[in-house]
């Protein structure tokens, strides 16, 4: 005899779902449009996506207001948890998505954008990420993660090039393995604590004072492995360079930002309590992850001959850099991570967009990849303004002040300093210096070398359209004038992070 379940709408608190629902509705809306009239222009879908994302943003904003009044909001059978982290990260996710999706409006036609499904998948993916960050339930995290990932695999493949398929297959297969790791880790946690909610897991472990420490380690090992995959920490990073190379620059840039921030949020939720429980093992492991990832991917980036691949390795390195925040685990560190990521969003948006506008249908003569360094040789002579802007983004990535990423680095190193991670701080500093080389290499090619082939000259802005110009201009302005945004951002993010207990 089943008792009728009586749940009040207040407890359900469906408003917590509003942002994700907007995205999902948007996706369905696009699919419905396509049902009625196919072969519509991509610009329509781009604008619809942006519109829905805008509504999404408003919904996030609403929930942030609620958070500021009432603190963390729980909803939907206690599954949803809208705290400061969720709100900030959703802001980043949605805004970054709004900035990246206009990159579809290139002047050249690309295969994937002719499918409305692409935009639907895009919105689904965003919904997935939003779910990931707005919960502390391992099931919902899993669902969100997989929703987003599966959409992403498909989107990569839709680029319709041999390399894109290869990238999609690689990403997919490894993603499946990571999903296995994740679920196994969750299972172990479930076995020892009887819960799949991070809060409760923490509570239970605290209560029995980590008596099953060995199993905790196993669970953490599996979960760490799966998130290390998402965050592309060495040695789980191997998908990243290939996937970045295989997918379109626009999507690669997107991948370097949004999935990672979602994963970072989950990692923070998952490991923060463990870090704070003084488990030396975890600290050592994270320390090793951070340093190895930062350093060795830097070294690999040094030897690349393709700019996009270099940026892929650089993104890995940046992820390692940001991962330090999880290791440090203080409010300052978490704030620094989010600040860093906001800055990184603008910078990578700019740099990948610059690659994107120079994308041509077919490989250039004498080239084996799309964006080799040689392609940009002597760019200052033929396309000075794009060269200057590209140089700007490279300098920003290198952490040259006063551009955006410098402030992220500054605050991150500071977080290490004030928590006593002196060695880490120095390693971070030295890695920034090593990284200088490969960013500088592109600058050297653009500004100091003679053009290799006159046929390359025409491609630098081949894909440029007004929309792309706007996006790049936005990114450039954002990176240059970041200094004026730091203070409000710091206050805002710091407030959100602090008030949600991280």
């Amino acid at each position: 005899m089943i008792q009728p379940v009586n749940i009040s709408m207040d407890v359900l608190n469906l408003t917590t779902l509003a942002p994700m629902l907007v995205a999902v509705v948007g996706a369905l809306f696009i699919l419905v449009i396509d049902l009625f009239k196919s072969n519509l222009d991509k610009s329509l879908y781009v604008m619809i996506s942006i519109l829905f994302l805008f509504v999404d943003l408003i919904a996030v904003y609403e929930s942030s207001l609620t958070f500021m009044q009432n603190g963390t909001v729980i909803g939907l059978f206690d599954v949803m948890q809208i705290d400061g982290l969720a709100i900030v990260s959703q802001f980043i996710i949605v805004i970054a998505s709004m900035l990246f999706i206009p990159l579809a409006m290139t002047s050249k036609r690309f295969h994937e954008y002719s499918y409305p499904e692409y935009f639907a998948l895009f919105l689904f993916m965003i919904a997935g990420f939003q779910f990931m960050v707005a919960t502390d339930n391992l099931i919902l995290i899993f669902v969100g993660l997989e929703t987003a990932s599966l959409s992403l695999y498909t989107m990569i493949a839709m680029h319709n090039r041999a390399k894109s398929f290869e990238a999609a297959v690689k990403y997919f297969t490894m993603g499946a393995l990571a999903a296995g790791f994740y679920s196994f880790g969750a299972m172990v946690f479930y076995a020892i604590t009887g819960s799949v909610e991070i809060n409760q897991i923490a509570a239970v472990l605290d209560a029995n004072s980590y008596k099953n420490l060995g199993y905790v380690f196993v669970a953490v090992a599996f979960l760490l492995a799966s998130f290390a995959f998402k965050l592309s920490l060495v040695p789980f990073h191997t998908w990243a360079p290939d996937v970045y190379e295989g997918s379109s620059a626009a999507l690669a840039g997107y991948m370097s930002i949004v999935p990672k921030i979602a994963a970072f949020i989950v990692t923070m939720r998952l490991f923060e309590f463990l870090v704070h429980s003084d488990i030396v093992w975890l600290k050592a492991i994270l320390y090793a992850f951070v340093i190895i990832t930062m350093t060795i991917s830097n070294l690999w980036a040094l030897v690349q001959s393709d700019v996009k691949r270099m940026l892929a390795y650089s993104s890995i390195s940046h992820a390692g850099f940001a991962m330090a925040a999880v290791l440090i685990g203080t409010t300052e560190a978490n704030t620094a991570l989010l600040l860093y990521w906001v800055m990184f969003t603008f910078t990578n948006l700019g740099s990948f967009s610059m690659l994107w506008i120079s994308r041509q249908k077919n490989l250039l003569p004498g080239q084996s990849s799309d964006h080799s360094y040689e392609k940009f040789a002597g760019m200052i002579k033929t396309a000075p303004i794009p060269a200057v802007i590209m140089g700007l983004f490279m300098l920003t990535l290198a952490g040259v002040p006063p551009f955006a990423l410098f402030w992220g680095k500054l605050y991150m190193i500071n977080a290490a300093v004030i928590s006593g991670y002196t060695f880490l701080a120095f390693i971070m500093a030295i890695n920034s210096a090593i990284a200088g080389y490969y960013y500088l290499k592109l600058i050297v090619y653009m500004f100091m070398k003679e053009p290799v082939d006159s046929r390359y000259e025409k491609v630098y802005t081949k894909n440029l359209s007004l929309t792309l110009k706007t996006v790049i201009g936005f990114a450039a302005v954002g990176t240059i004038f970041a200094v004026f945004a730091i203070n409000p951002l710091l206050n805002l993010i710091g407030g959100f992070v602090y008030n949600s207990g991280f």
């Binding site: 200052i380 300098l395 290198a398 952490g399 040259v400 002040p401 006063p402 410098f406 402030w407 500054l410 605050y411 190193i413 500071n414 300093v417 004030i418 002196t422 701080a425 120095f426 500093a429 030295i430 920034s432 210096a433 090593i434 200088g436 080389y437 500088l440 290499k441 600058i443 050297v444 500004f447 100091m448 070398k449 200094v483 004026f484 730091i486 203070n487 710091l490 206050n491 710091g494």
Partner: protein, 521 residues
């Protein structure tokens, strides 16, 4: 306008540079000269309105930038920094005015204007992060100048220059963050203001570590042995204007930073490291002078000579008394003028012969007498002849350090010998003897454009050598304040002994003997 003169000085070149993008490239030189002239006049205004009776910061401006984190736009000058700012403006002006025909002239001048912004910014900044921003950003225009207009190894040179300095300054940045953190721990407020930091008294062990972190950043910039190897490449490959600015101003950032940061922030550590640093300086002086002597390329001689002279500057700085520090600051200006001029002169001959190898010259005194005469004047200034600008700085630096160590000063004093050896032998190789090479027989003497740059430099070299008072007085004032401050701040007994209160030392003397008292009456 005077209240904001520093901001104007910093950002005027930037804005002018940005606007410059819109200007036609054939009329660009006039624009560049006009802008840098205005900047130079503004910098002179700074001097004109500078109150020499105040030792502390003047023309101070503050603007909150990241108040939460204690980062503010905070600028100001005192006697220590003001003249280097003027020098920077001056060298940009004559650099642009005497620019020989270059490809992409417009890009070059815009880059120089950006560079000027960073140079002025570094010396005006009183907030560590603002300082760091300009410090670091100054690399960018410089590598562009080296990398785009340099010699065959220009890319290697510019990358080396960038990475080396970049690595050093990042470590310095970590040091700055620690410093800010200690300040936060003590006061509960974040601040990156140097003036605030000055008030922070740290235990000696902390001082030592922080000193080291700052030291790496500064030492690479100076460059101090053994971090100096980027410099010969940078100079060797850079175009004339690049070398001039690099030698005249950019290197001074490092030595200036020692005075601005290391000494007042870490007086005890400064005392602790005095002997090791003096030893390094001596190595710089003697060793690089010998290396300079072995060079075949005249520009490399001047480049290595720069390192050698920087050794004297560092030595003077770590004399930790008014005489030495004033001398080292004066020598910064002096060396700026002289080495800048020497690089300009090397550029003159390079323009004509497209080689810098001394074996290619010989007997130039016969073909280009005016050139030889001007070169000779700067040669003698570089060697530190009295009544030239360099002598005063070198004399005071060595004099100051003699107080600290007799033996080390004796060894460091060989600067005047080894300096003469490489300079004179280089001069002999290039200018004396008979004209052996056919290409050299009809070289034109210095032309008007070049004289425009060189004559003012000759004038300054001799003027400040004979009458340094207008410059030395403000320096002296600010340095006295600095040393007094260090004396009071120092906590170790050794520090109290090594850093003497400059005012007390003065009163100990009999007043009738002390001519400066007479003057004051």
């Amino acid at each position: 306008m005077l209240e904001n003169i520093l901001t104007i000085l910093i950002f005027f070149p930037l804005i002018a540079g940005i606007l410059g993008f819109a200007i036609d490239k054939n009329s660009f030189r006039a624009y560049g000269i006009a802008v840098s002239l205005v900047e130079f006049v503004l910098s002179l205004l700074l001097w004109f309105y500078y109150d020499p009776n105040i030792a502390g910061m003047q023309f101070v401006e503050t603007l909150p930038l990241i108040p939460t984190f204690g980062i503010n736009y905070f600028v100001g000058v005192d006697g220590i920094s003001m003249f280097i700012i003027i020098l920077a403006a001056f060298f940009t002006l004559i650099g642009i005015a005497s620019l020989p025909k270059t490809p992409n002239e417009k890009n070059m001048i815009i880059t120089l204007l950006f560079l000027q912004m960073t140079m002025v910014g570094v010396f005006a900044a009183l907030d560590a992060i603002v300082f760091y921003i300009f410090w670091e950003f100054s690399l960018v225009p410089m590598i562009y100048i080296i990398g785009a207009w340099g010699g065959p190894l220009r890319i290697y040179a510019s990358i080396k220059f960038f990475l080396y300095t970049f690595a050093g300054s990042l470590i310095m940045l970590v040091g700055m963050l620690f410093m800010a953190y200690f300040y936060y721990q003590t006061t509960g407020v974040w601040s990156f203001s140097i003036e605030d930091w000055y008030n922070l008294v740290l235990p000696k062990s902390y001082q030592i570590w922080l000193f080291l972190a700052f030291f790496i950043g500064f030492a690479i910039k100076v460059p101090m042995f053994p971090f100096h190897t980027w410099l010969p490449y940078a100079h060797g490959q850079a175009p004339t204007i690049g070398s001039v600015i690099l030698a005249a101003i950019l290197l001074k950032m490092g030595t200036y930073a020692f005075v601005r940061f290391s000494l007042p922030l870490f007086p005890d550590a400064s005392v602790f490291f005095m002997v090791p640093i003096a030893t390094i300086s001596i190595i710089m002086i003697v060793y690089t002078a010998m290396v300079a002597y072995a060079q075949e390329d005249i520009k490399q001689v001047v480049a290595y000579s720069s390192i050698s002279h920087m050794g004297v500057i560092i030595l003077g700085t770590f004399a930790l008394n008014v005489e030495g520090i004033s001398g080292s600051i004066f020598l910064m200006i002096g060396h700026g003028v002289v080495s800048g001029a020497l690089f300009l002169l090397v550029g003159v001959i390079y323009e004509r012969r497209h080689t810098k190898l001394m074996s290619e010259f010989g007997g130039l005194a016969h073909v280009m007498p005016r050139y030889a005469a001007i070169f000779g004047i700067f040669l003698m200034a570089s060697v530190g002849l009295p009544l030239t600008i360099n002598f005063i700085g070198e004399f005071l630096s060595l004099l100051g350090f003699y107080k600290q160590s007799h033996i080390l000063t004796l060894v460091a004093g060989t600067a005047i010998i080894v300096g003469a050896i490489y300079m004179l032998s280089a001069f002999k190789k290039a200018f004396f003897g008979n004209v052996t090479k056919e290409e050299n027989k009809n070289l034109p003497d210095v032309n008007k454009t070049e004289l425009v740059a060189l004559i003012p430099l000759v004038a300054i070299t001799i003027w400040l050598g004979v009458y340094p008072k207008p410059v030395l007085d403000p320096i002296n004032k600010s340095v006295t304040r600095l040393v007094k401050f260090m004396h009071e701040k120092s906590r170790t007994p050794d520090g109290k002994i090594r850093i003497q209160d400059p005012l007390k030392v003065k009163t100990k003397k009999v007043c009738s003997d002390c001519a400066s008292c007479k003057e004051g009456e």
